[in-house]
Structure formats: structure tokens, C-alpha cells
């Protein structure tokens, strides 16, 4: 048991290291570097002083060094808990990410809650009332949610919010609350802004969950213990809810692993469209600007989350299923 966990941990560490190398290399693969991004921005604002010293900036940022030197400098700091200074933000990377991490989690958790709250009851209903009109309607809606690209749905909902409900568009807070201390009014404002992202992010996952739930439950419903329960005269509602639903829920445990990274950055495209102050847009901008320390730290964080998530879900499965426990 302990050796199993130890091996998983060692593998996890190796994976994280590999992620760090790959991310650092991939971030720098496109043409140019942060200095050219900076030059481009200056040029866009009519600032093209021809004597501007690009070479000097490069040396200052250490961008003139070979890539492996840059990598070891960076990873050396990271190991000591220092993620460096973001070129673009001129602030420590940890602060920049920290600001947005909590809000990212709020958005993702809201979406997950929405998904589960919608998908599980519908999945149960669809299984119990298989091939009924309701089953077809819900299945259709679920697939529609899967088929419509997130960004399109986000745009449409945002426009409806603007044109019909006159609400504050995009973001997670109205301007007046953005910088305010936490209060009931601010929380209410946040909840109002969470509706659209939760629906948009949630609908995409709903169809999949409905199908899994439906299929699992259908398998269970055929089993003799359900028939026995029915034969004993238990109420239909109780028969379904008490036993087969609980068994059918098991596979969800194994998907916990994927939820971890998703909680941090499961919403890049939607966050950009809706202008949510989450980690997603931060990552995109860092990649575009080749702000390596920031982008590297986020990718590394995602890697760590995936590894931890996988480990947790392995452990949960092991605890649930003796066959896995004894296989090693």
C-alpha cells in the first residue's frame, strides 16, 4: 500500500518536472520574445523611438542567454518557492496568480455545481423513464448544450443580458463593487454575475454526465437486487434513490482527477469572452506576450493540479474497489 503511494508520488514528481521543461520550451518556441511584444505595443501607440535599446532589455531580462541556462535559473528559483517577477505585470508572479486563483475556483465550482445539479436528476429521470418524451427532450437539450460552442453561447447570453435584462455585462463584479470590501451586496453582485458563466460552462459538461448517469443507472436497474426491492413492495422512489443511484455514482469518483486542474483554469475561452478575471485570460496573455515566468508558473500549477488530482482519484478508487487495492 505504502510502496504503491510512494511510487505514484515519485512518478508524479517526474511528471511535474517533465511538464516544467516542456512548458518552458514550448512557451519560447514562437518567434520573438517579451521584448518584441513590448516593442510592438510601443509601436501601436506611435512610440517608435529608433534608438530604443532592445538588446539592453534582453540582457536585463536574461533573454539573451541560451534556453537551458534560462530554464535552470528559473527552476532553481521555483524550487526555492520564488516564481520570479512577471515581465508584463512587473509584479511577483505569485501575487499576480494569487489575485485570480480564488475567483477562478469560484467560477469553476459554480459551474461544477450547476452541471451536477442539472445532470444527475436528469440522468436518473432519463434512465427510469427510458424512451419517454421527457428522456428524448432532455437528451436533445443536453446534446445541444454539448454541440453549441461555449464562446457562442457566452456571447448570446451576454447580449441577452445586455439587451433584455439591462444587467452589467461581463466580468464578475459591477464596477462599483470591484474594489469594495466584501459585503452582502458585493456577494449578491458576484452571484448575479456568476449565472452566465455557470450556465455556459455547465451546459457543455451536462450532456456527458447525463449519458454516463443514464447508462450506469440502466445497468443497475436491471440487476436482481432492484427487482427484489420492488418485489418487497418498496416505493419506486425509494427503490431507485436508495440503491442503484448510489452504485451508479461510483464512476464519478474516478473523474475527480480531472476536476482539479479544471477548477484552476477550466474556462479559458469563456473567461476571455466574458472578461472574467480568472487565471485563463492571464495564461493566454502571458503566452501571447511570452511572459515566460508567468506562463511557466501557470502551466506548472496546472501540471501539479493534474498530478494531485490523479493521485487522489486513484486513492479514492483504491478505497472503493478492493480489486485495485490488491492488484499491486
Amino acid at each position: 500500500m505504502l510502496t504503491y503511494i510512494g511510487r505514484r508520488l515519485a512518478l508524479g514528481l517526474f511528471t511535474v518536472w517533465a511538464v516544467s521543461v516542456l512548458s518552458f520550451v514550448i512557451i519560447q518556441l514562437p518567434q520573438g520574445d517579451y521584448v518584441t511584444t513590448h516593442l510592438a505595443e510601443l509601436a501601436a501607440d506611435g512610440n517608435s523611438s529608433s534608438t530604443f535599446e532592445a538588446a539592453r532589455l534582453r540582457a536585463e531580462y536574461g533573454l539573451d542567454q541560451p534556453m537551458f541556462v534560462q530554464y535552470f535559473r528559473w527552476i532553481g528559483q521555483v524550487v526555492q518557492g520564488d516564481f520570479g517577477m512577471s515581465f508584463d505585470w512587473n509584479r511577483p508572479v505569485a501575487d499576480v496568480i494569487g489575485d485570480r486563483l480564488v475567483l477562478s475556483m469560484v467560477v469553476s465550482i459554480a459551474a461544477i455545481i450547476f452541471t451536477w445539479a442539472v445532470a444527475l436528476p436528469i440522468g436518473v429521470y432519463s434512465a427510469v423513464r427510458r424512451y419517454s418524451v421527457g428522456d428524448h427532450v432532455f437528451t436533445f437539450l443536453g446534446f445541444l448544450g454539448l454541440a453549441i460552442p461555449n464562446f457562442l453561447l457566452a456571447l448570446i447570453l451576454m447580449y441577452i443580458g445586455f439587451a433584455v435584462f439591462d444587467g452589467s455585462v461581463g466580468g464578475l463584479f459591477s464596477p462599483e463593487y470591484e474594489n469594495a470590501a466584501w459585503s452582502f451586496a458585493k456577494t449578491w453582485d458576484l452571484l448575479k454575475h456568476l449565472v452566465i458563466p455557470a450556465i455556459v460552462l455547465g451546459t457543455a459538461g451536462t450532456a456527458q454526465l447525463i449519458r454516463i448517469m443514464r447508462a450506469n443507472l440502466l445497468d443497475e436497474l436491471r440487476k436482481p437486487y432492484v427487482i427484489t426491492a420492488r418485489a418487497k413492495g418498496l416505493a419506486e422512489r425509494r427503490v431507485v434513490a436508495k440503491y442503484p443511484v448510489r452504485v451508479a455514482l461510483n464512476p464519478f469518483a474516478s473523474s475527480i482527477g480531472f476536476l482539479f486542474p479544471q477548477v484552476v483554469s477550466g474556462s479559458i475561452v469563456v473567461s476571455i469572452v466574458l472578461s472574467l478575471p480568472t487565471v485563463g485570460p492571464l495564461l493566454l496573455r502571458a503566452l501571447q506576450a511570452q511572459d515566460m515566468y508567468l506562463a511557466g508558473a501557470i502551466v506548472l500549477l496546472l501540471g501539479v493540479m493534474t498530478v494531485i488530482g490523479t493521485l487522489v482519484s486513484d486513492l479514492v478508487l483504491m478505497w472503493l474497489d478492493p480489486r485495485i487495492r490488491h492488484a499491486r
Binding site: L29, T37, F52, N90, F151, L155, F162, V169, G171, L284
Partner: protein
């Protein structure tokens, strides 16, 4: 996350931006069509749309009789005074404040302005709105003459070789420390000339030598040039690295810096070790990086400034916020210290479409940046609902043109063609400018060759706007036949002389200001009729810079600077050696900049370009204003005649041409000059805005 995942997301992002634009446009029904019909006369600011109000703005008061004697201040500052934490207002202003007569009337104190910005790259957002401006000199609101600003007055003497600036008596930095000539010398000697910090400051070069800055006394500074330097005041006033701390200090420019504060980070005043230690403690690598950060208005709230607002919350911890500078030198003609509105909050928005939608729903009190001309119908449609008014300020330059790399060499035959004047003229005649104006600019621009706007002092006349710029495929085909490109393939495209297929030009651009990639696609279709094939590519701006400096770019779509040939020659003549605006010919720019030591001399076919550069140099040191203007006109004529770039649509609204202000705000000018030199929209004077 994998590489392909990333590129898929990038692709999706592009799709979003494209789709959302369409959605916004589709969302409105009766789109008002705004139509240009030439330009009106008027100020130097040039271009205009029919039915636009006249240019207006706050008037600088210099008549001693009209200068107020008693001063008043905002209630929140008065509170600090009575609490004893701040000296009285008269003491803070000094004896020579900057007096403005607001455009519509005296305002009242209070309220806050809400705006949007789009991330760390958008640091100019505040510079172009609430920096004052903080340049030593500035333009009057008509963009006609240079007037005093942070410096009270100036004079040119000794055949324009000596510029004397007079500073304001008793003027103070935002922390209360006196502002003196030493702050200008500190910048010049310890930053501008420093190998670690300086931008080299091309604006401080004149003829073969450097401009020297001398302190006469605490309030008087002299700039001495070796040859006549008549445009130096305009550089101090406009958009050069000399023109203000807010825009330039973190890049090594600014023109002046708070010596009493910044010297603690400068090794000359401490030691390299001490300066490096301060930097390391703050997490920066090396003192130079930290100095730049400490000198950045948008990033360092403790930096003393002379701007009317100071940063209270930096850009990198949004929302970006500003509070009143208690030592602001601006007062209105009744003696009220400006700004009337003490607080500005700028929210960070991740994309421009959300910003436009927020603007349309009235969530911003003032917005000018990032609400492009393509969203104009939606914005106008929602004026009532959002309780705001849209104002239009046509640009003083060419919004959209095709820049040509005259020094292109990677494909020798195509390079030769680009250097052939009849080929360039044919390309220009093959462009249907009206169609592009309607499709991409909603008809708000003026079809034009690369030349100055009507009303500009450098305007060579309206005939030059149509020079080789009317849609005339017949004439174009004739010109192409004349230079021997007569063989065509089965699809009607002209063949190369070396037999390697069609003549196929490369056009690389990225969206920004306008849909330059879409415009390229339209030009590609238009050039079919003259048998020239165009390969259109969407390219990231990073890559554009790299390809420019490597001299690999052939054609690109962008705006072309035709505001003022001497102040903004960057895209107009080969003057930039290391950035995308210089794509007209990087090797040539290097050759001219180094007096023939580096780069490449333009060949015989571009002799006129060398002549134009000589004229440009002559104009820069021409003390006779009338002669300089004549040279400027001549340069525009030569550019239009030689088609060194293909101007398409100009003097429209694509570049910062639309601004929106809440109905509740007073003193918002109905129209202003839209020019980089004016740091537009700073010239709407937001310090005089107030809530009615």
C-alpha cells in the same frame, strides 16, 4: 496542456473576436450611416465629417489681468488642510498656476469617472486621458501653436539654436517638493545619457550633435543646439520621448524626473551595490529594472508626479485608480483648483468586445480607447439607453494604407518591381478605395493617397489626395504593360520575367485599428483586374517586428503617419531602424541614420527617396517657418507622386476617432483634434469635466 491545445485555443479566440464583432453589428437594427464628404477647412487638425461640430476646447489664460487672485479647492482636500496634513491651496499652487478657461463653463467638485482598459499592454490608456498632459510644453486646443504647459513659457533665440524654458514659481511635485531646473537636468544627465537607462533620445539630437541642457537658475533652463532646431518646442509639446513623464519615464524618456525621489534608486547618488540591493529586496534583477519600475507612473503609486491625477492603485493590481494631485498646478479662470472630479477608476477588461458592450450599456462615464468604428452603429443605437453621447473626432493621418518595403530583397525580381515607380503607381490605381471605405470604415473615412489632411498646414492641396489614387484599372494595366509585364497565365495573372510563375506579392498584417487582414483580402480581389496576385497572411505583431527588422516583410497594412512630416516621419520616410513602423526600408533607414556607415544606400531607382531624406533633414533645421512648411508640402507631394506607400483611407474614425461621454458630464468638447501629437483625448481636458 499541449502545444496543439494551445493553438486550438488561439484559433478559437480569433473565431470569437470575429464572431462577436458580427454579433454586435447584427444586434442593432437601424444602423445610422455616417458618411464622409471630403473634409472641412478649419484648424490644422484637418479631416472632418459632414455635419460635425466645430473643434472646441479649454482655452489657456495668460493675460495677467484675467489670472484669478484667490483659489479654492475640492472639499476632500480642504478637509486635509483643516486637519493640518496639507498646506493651504494658494501655497500648494505657487504664484504662477496654469489657468484654463473651461470650454463650457465653471464646474463643481465631486464624483468619479469610470473607464475601461484592456490589460498591462494598455498603459497609454491613462496617458492619453488623464495625464494633464504633463509635457513641459503643449499645443493649444486648435493644434496651431505651441504654448506653455508644465513650463510657463518658452522662447527661441539665436536663430532657433537656443530654446529657453521658464518654469513656474512655487510649483511643486505631488509630494510637495519644489519642481526646479534640477529635475530637468537630472533627467538629461543621469537618465537620458545613461547607458543603462537612456532611450538615447533621438529628439535631443540636432544636426551632428547632441542638444545640451543648461541651468540658468532654478526656474530657467536653456536647450542649446549646434544648428537651428526650430521643431524642438514641438517635440517637447507633442509625442516624443521628451514630452512628459507619464508616457515616457519608464522608457528612459520624459524630459524631467523627480530628482529628490528617484535619485535614491540611482547608483550615481548612492552606489551600485546599494541600488542593486534595493532592487533585489523588491524582487527585481538589477537596479536599472527597478529604476524603470519606480519611474513608471502606472506602476508606482509613490512616484511624485506633476499630473493632475496621481495613481492610487497601480495598473498591475486592477482596478487601476487615480486620485487628485493636491499640488495640481491647473486652476480654472475662477480660481478653482482642477480637476473637478477627483477620482478615476479604470476596470480591467479582457477583450475589446466586452468593453464596447459595457460602454453601450452606459457602464463607463467616458471611453475613447478600444471602442472602434465598427461598433459605432451599436454605440449610437444605445445612446439613449446608456445615457451617453457619442462624439466623433476624425484622425489627422491616413487610417489605412499599404506600407511597401522599398528595400525588399529576398526575391530580387519582386524587389526590383517594388522599386519601380510605375509598378507602385499601378498597384495604387488598382485599389478601389471607395469599396474599402464603405466595407471596413462604414464610409467614415476619406479615400486618399498618402498625404496630409485637408486643413493641415502641410496640406499640399486636394489634387494630391487623388494622385495615382483613383480606381483606374485601365491606366494601371497600361503602366504594367509599359514596364514589360505583358505575359499572362491562363487565369489572367501577369507572369514573372524569370518564368517562375505569376507575380505574387506577400501582404502580412495583423488586426489593430482596423481589420487589415480583411482589407488585404479585398485588395487581393481588386488586384485581380490588373493581373497581380496577392498572398494575404494574418501575422502576430511580434512576428511583424521580427520580419521587419530582418528586412523580410514585403507589403503590410497599417495606418501611415501623415500628421506632421518632421514630428512623425516614422512610417512616412525611412527613419526608424528597429521597429515595425520602419518597414518602408530598414536598411535605408540605417544608412541615413549612420551617414552611410551602416545599412544600404537606396539605388538609382529610388534617387528621389534620397532627395526626400535630404529635404527632410533640411526642414528639421530650417528656421524660416514658411520655408519649412513649403518643404513639408513638397515631401507629401513627392510621397504621393512616387507612391512610397499606398494610402487607402484617411482622416476617418478608425484610430481613436470615437469618444463617448455620459450625459451627466459637463465641459466635454463636442469635437477635438484627434492627433497623437495632442495625446488625444487628453485635449478634451478631462480635468475640467464635472457632474452637472
Amino acid at each position: 496542456m499541449t502545444g496543439s491545445d494551445y493553438s486550438r485555443r488561439l484559433f478559437l479566440r480569433n473565431a470569437i473576436l470575429a464572431t462577436s464583432g458580427t454579433l454586435l453589428a447584427a444586434g442593432c437594427t437601424s444602423a445610422p450611416v455616417v458618411r464622409a464628404s471630403g473634409a472641412d477647412a478649419g484648424s490644422r487638425g484637418g479631416g472632418a465629417l459632414e455635419g460635425l461640430p466645430a473643434i472646441e476646447g479649454a482655452e489657456l489664460v495668460t493675460d495677467p489681468a484675467l489670472i484669478p487672485k484667490a483659489f479654492r479647492e475640492a472639499p476632500e482636500l480642504a478637509k486635509l488642510v483643516s486637519a493640518g496634513t496639507l498646506p493651504p491651496v494658494a501655497e500648494r499652487l505657487g504664484s504662477q498656476p496654469l489657468v484654463l478657461k473651461p470650454v463650457h463653463g465653471t464646474g463643481k467638485y465631486g464624483g468619479q469617472i469610470r473607464r475601461g482598459f484592456i490589460g498591462q499592454g494598455d498603459f497609454q490608456n491613462a496617458v492619453r486621458f488623464c495625464s494633464g498632459p504633463d509635457s513641459l510644453l503643449y499645443w493649444d486646443f486648435r493644434f496651431e501653436k505651441v504654448v506653455g504647459n508644465i513650463a510657463r513659457a518658452y522662447e527661441l533665440s539665436d536663430n532657433d539654436r537656443v530654446l529657453t524654458l521658464h518654469l513656474r514659481k512655487g510649483m511643486r511635485w505631488s509630494d510637495g517638493h519644489p519642481f526646479t531646473a534640477d529635475d530637468i537636468l537630472f533627467w538629461r544627465d543621469d537618465i537620458s545619457k545613461s547607458a543603462d537607462l537612456g532611450s538615447g533620445s533621438s529628439s535631443m539630437r540636432s544636426g551632428d550633435g547632441e542638444v545640451t541642457v543648461e541651468k540658468v537658475d532654478d526656474l530657467t533652463v536653456r536647450y542649446v543646439s549646434k544648428v537651428p532646431n526650430p521643431t524642438l518646442p514641438e517635440r517637447l509639446a507633442g509625442w516624443s520621448d521628451l514630452a512628459g513623464m507619464a508616457a515616457n519615464a519608464h522608457l528612459g524618456g520624459g524630459g524631467f524626473l523627480p530628482k529628490h525621489y528617484l535619485s535614491q534608486f540611482h547608483p550615481t547618488y548612492t552606489s551600485v551595490d546599494a541600488a542593486n540591493k534595493l532592487a533585489a529586496d523588491a524582487g527585481f534583477k538589477g537596479w536599472a529594472a527597478y529604476f524603470r519600475n519606480r519611474a513608471a507612473w502606472h506602476q508606482n503609486p509613490s512616484l511624485p508626479m506633476v499630473t493632475p491625477w496621481v495613481v492610487t492603485r497601480p495598473i498591475n493590481n486592477p482596478p487601476w485608480e487615480f486620485g487628485p494631485n493636491p499640488y495640481s498646478i491647473w486652476v480654472d479662470d475662477k480660481g478653482y483648483q482642477l480637476p473637478y472630479i477627483g477620482k478615476i477608476t479604470m476596470g480591467n477588461v479582457e477583450n475589446t468586445e466586452v468593453l464596447s458592450l459595457r460602454a453601450a450599456s452606459g457602464e463607463y462615464d467616458v471611453q475613447d480607447r478600444w471602442i472602434g468604428v465598427t461598433n459605432l452603429p451599436v454605440l449610437i443605437d444605445n445612446e439613449k439607453k446608456g445615457s451617453y453621447k457619442i462624439h466623433r473626432a476624425p484622425f489627422t493621418e491616413v487610417d489605412c494604407g499599404i506600407r511597401l518595403n522599398l528595400a525588399y530583397e529576398d526575391d530580387p525580381e519582386l524587389g526590383e518591381l517594388i522599386r519601380t515607380v510605375d509598378f507602385r503607381r499601378a498597384l495604387s490605381l488598382g485599389v478601389d478605395r471607395g469599396q474599402i471605405n464603405e466595407a471596413f470604415f462604414l464610409g467614415t473615412g476619406t479615400p486618399t493617397a498618402t498625404t496630409a489632411a485637408k486643413g493641415s498646414i502641410y496640406d499640399p492641396g486636394s489634387a494630391w489626395r487623388t494622385k495615382w489614387a483613383q480606381h483606374d484599372p485601365k491606366q494601371a494595366n497600361k503602366l504594367l504593360d509599359k514596364i514589360g509585364l505583358t505575359t499572362k497565365d491562363s487565369a489572367g495573372y501577369r507572369m514573372r520575367k524569370d518564368g517562375a510563375g505569376r507575380i505574387r506579392l506577400d501582404y502580412q498584417a495583423n488586426a489593430g485599428g482596423a481589420d487589415f487582414v480583411g482589407i488585404g483580402e479585398m485588395v487581393k480581389r481588386q488586384w485581380q483586374t490588373i493581373g497581380i496576385d496577392l498572398n494575404v497572411q494574418s501575422v502576430e505583431s511580434n512576428l511583424l517586428i521580427q520580419r521587419t527588422t530582418a528586412n523580410q516583410l514585403m507589403l503590410s497594412g497599417q495606418s501611415v503617419g501623415t500628421d506632421d512630416p518632421f514630428l512623425k516621419g516614422d512610417t512616412f520616410l525611412p527613419t526608424v531602424t528597429n521597429n515595425y513602423p520602419g518597414m518602408i526600408g530598414i536598411p535605408y533607414a540605417k544608412w541615413f541614420a549612420s551617414d552611410g556607415k551602416q545599412g544600404k544606400e537606396p539605388p538609382e531607382s529610388l534617387k528621389l527617396l534620397s532627395d526626400a531624406m535630404a529635404l527632410y533633414q533640411k526642414g528639421l533645421s530650417e528656421p524660416d517657418d514658411a520655408e519649412r512648411v513649403r518643404i513639408g508640402k513638397k515631401l507629401y507631394q513627392m510621397h504621393a507622386d512616387q507612391v512610397w506607400s499606398i494610402g487607402i483611407v484617411g482622416f476617418g474614425l478608425a484610430v481613436n476617432g470615437v469618444y463617448l461621454a455620459s450625459d451627466r458630464l459637463g465641459n466635454v468638447p463636442a469635437r477635438v483634434v484627434n492627433s497623437l501629437q495632442m495625446k488625444s483625448m487628453t485635449n478634451t481636458y478631462p480635468i475640467t469635466y464635472f457632474y452637472k
